[in-house]
């Protein structure tokens, strides 16, 4: 693989997802550049979360879901039959809508991914945990209580812990499914600042219901409607001067 040539980090080819044989995504072809934030917007049920979860093979864990088409990560199809979904998820991290800390301490949450991957020497884990917590801008708030249960943190802190946990295993891509929808405005501000910082190192794909958030943090925006990708391009164009009539209605607040 050539690294000099500009290449998409993620590229989907005729990607569709069906639940119980019912197709919920019209085949989607999109190419997401490395380093940067891509926002996925659209009304509820438009398929943006379904699309997102296809990018780290999360649908594999649902019995009635079926994915077809290709998702190329650095040019290689993650759905190829020789590819282990577990290995894919170590390269493509995910942060969920509601903070979902694992039972156990703050430290254990961040160390979890390192421990199951088994590549990290036990004595190197504390250092990696600290680095991840620093990157997630949480270190100063939790450094004195790493052994406290993660559930004792506030919602915003829990969500930053989930981000720290995801980046501790050094993924290439970070998928975020409405990471601020359960947070108050101040916590949202923290997480948004973090997303802006993370894009230097990771490729971030962000599902959001908030057009303002998409405008604040994203470089590219994709508008989904009724399971189809309607429009994709630089955020200022898609959000401020969209080409498609449906996008225009949505960003003006007429649909959704």
């Amino acid at each position: 693989m050539t690294t000099t040539r500009h290449q998409a980090k993620i590229e989907t080819r005729s990607l569709t997802v069906s639940f119980d044989e019912k197709r919920v995504l019209t085949p989607i072809d999109v190419s997401i550049a490395a380093h940067g934030v891509t926002a996925l917007i659209g009304p509820s049920g438009c398929g943006k979360s379904t699309f997102l979860r296809a990018l780290n093979r999360m649908h594999d864990t649902v019995e009635r879901a079926e994915v077809s088409g290709e998702v190329l990560l650095d040019g290689e199809d993650i759905y190829h039959r020789d590819v282990d979904p577990v290995a894919v998820r170590r390269r493509v991290g995910m942060v969920f809508q509601r903070p979902n800390p694992l039972p156990g301490s703050i430290f254990d949450n961040v160390a979890f991914g390192l421990r199951v991957a088994g590549h990290t020497a036990p004595q190197a884990i504390p250092e990696r945990v600290e680095r991840a917590l620093r990157r997630a801008a949480l270190w100063s708030e939790v450094k004195d209580r790493l052994r406290a249960p993660a559930s004792a943190l506030s919602g915003g802190q829990q969500q930053r812990l989930c981000i720290a946990r995801a980046i501790a295993i050094e993924p290439d891509v970070l998928l975020m499914d409405e990471p601020c929808s359960a947070l108050d405005p101040i916590a949202t501000e923290h997480v948004e600042a973090l997303i802006t910082e993370l894009k230097a190192r990771y490729t971030v794909v962000l599902v959001t219901h908030s057009l303002a958030q998409a405008r604040r943090v994203s470089d590219h925006t994709a508008f989904f409607y009724l399971g189809a990708l309607v429009e994709f391009g630089p955020s200022e164009r898609v959000l401020l001067a969209p080409d498609d009539e449906r996008t225009r209605s949505y960003v003006r607040g007429a649909i959704g």
């Binding site: 019995e63 577990v86 998820r89 509601r98 979902n100 979890f112 995801a166 295993i169």
Partner: protein, 285 residues
């Protein structure tokens, strides 16, 4: 009109409760009142052996049965395809097992554990030595009780596993955990209170059962404390039965029977109490 009916129902419910409490007080009261002096007199041979035997057989039951049941529940809750024929059969079998009378388990234990497994082990391990494992003993009694209590633990554990939120599984999977790691490192610990509830129920049922141990290991009289799982053992429930029905002079053995009944209640209570305390601690963590 409505309030009159309410009063009537209230009175009915109240008297039902009273009746229940009265029955409980009668049973417990008579056991305690008669048992304490009998126990204090200490005129009762074999009670220590029977107490230890009851605790031992219950412990063996738990050690053998719970891991089996938990793994079955994990299979049903996490791995079994929802509507496959195999899953339906396994579920039906678990339900059927729960409805089998305990004396049938006793016969099953004799036929399967003692004669088939035990004799089979003897043939391979101790050829020509006679019966070592192939006779009734505390190990096979514990195994039989384990089978009896399987359904309780399976059902409660499966329900507990299903109550673990999907978000938690996804959190682990998204961090690159395999399904096996997710199940055993995240989901099962999160369901531990439910698992322990199953164990509490199983002990509550298993500790007092006599029928399953009748042919599989309970002895009329073994004065020494049990030290070998391959030996027969005394059990408080069986001892009570023997004292009340087999003694030459029932009126003379009555104090011993009363002491045994009291001890059986205490042991069952203690075992249940331990399990409940464990569960309580787990639920606070």
């Amino acid at each position: 009109m409505k309030s009159a009916r309410n009063v009537a129902f209230g009175a009915l419910a109240g008297s039902a409760l009273l009746l229940l409490l009265l029955a409980l007080a009668l049973v417990l009261g008579s056991v305690v009142v008669a048992g304490i002096p009998a126990l204090a007199r200490g005129s009762t041979d074999g009670l220590a052996a029977a107490t230890v035997g009851t605790a031992l057989v219950t412990a063996i039951m738990t050690l053998l049965g719970v891991p089996f049941a938990v793994i079955t529940a994990v299979y049903l809750a996490e791995y079994a395809p929802e509507c496959s024929t195999t899953t339906r059969w396994v579920r039906a079998a678990v339900r059927a097992l729960a409805g089998v009378p305990s004396i049938v388990f006793g016969l099953f234990g004799l036929g399967f554990f003692v004669l088939f497994v035990g004799r089979g082990m003897d043939r391979i391990l101790y050829p020509g030595l006679g019966a070592v494992f192939g006779r009734p003993c505390v190990l096979w009694s514990g195994a039989t009780l384990a089978v009896l209590t399987l359904p309780v633990v399976i059902v409660t554990t499966e329900e507990a596993l299903r109550r673990v939120p999907r978000e938690l599984r996804e959190a682990a999977l998204a961090l690159g955990a395999t399904k096996l790691e997710t199940t055993f490192v995240v989901v099962l610990p999160a369901a531990r209170v439910g698992v322990l509830t199953g164990v509490v129920l199983a002990i509550g049922r298993g500790a007092g059962e006599v029928a399953p141990i009748l042919f599989t290991g309970a002895a009329n009289f073994v004065p020494d404390l049990p030290t070998d799982v391959r030996a027969m053992f005394m059990h408080l429930g069986f001892h009570l039965y023997a004292l009340s029905t087999q003694a030459a002079d029932v009126s003379r053995s009555r104090p011993a029977a009363q002491a045994t009944a009291l001890l059986l209640l205490l042991v069952t209570l203690a075992l249940n109490g331990t399990a409940i305390a464990l569960r309580h601690r787990a639920s606070r963590e």
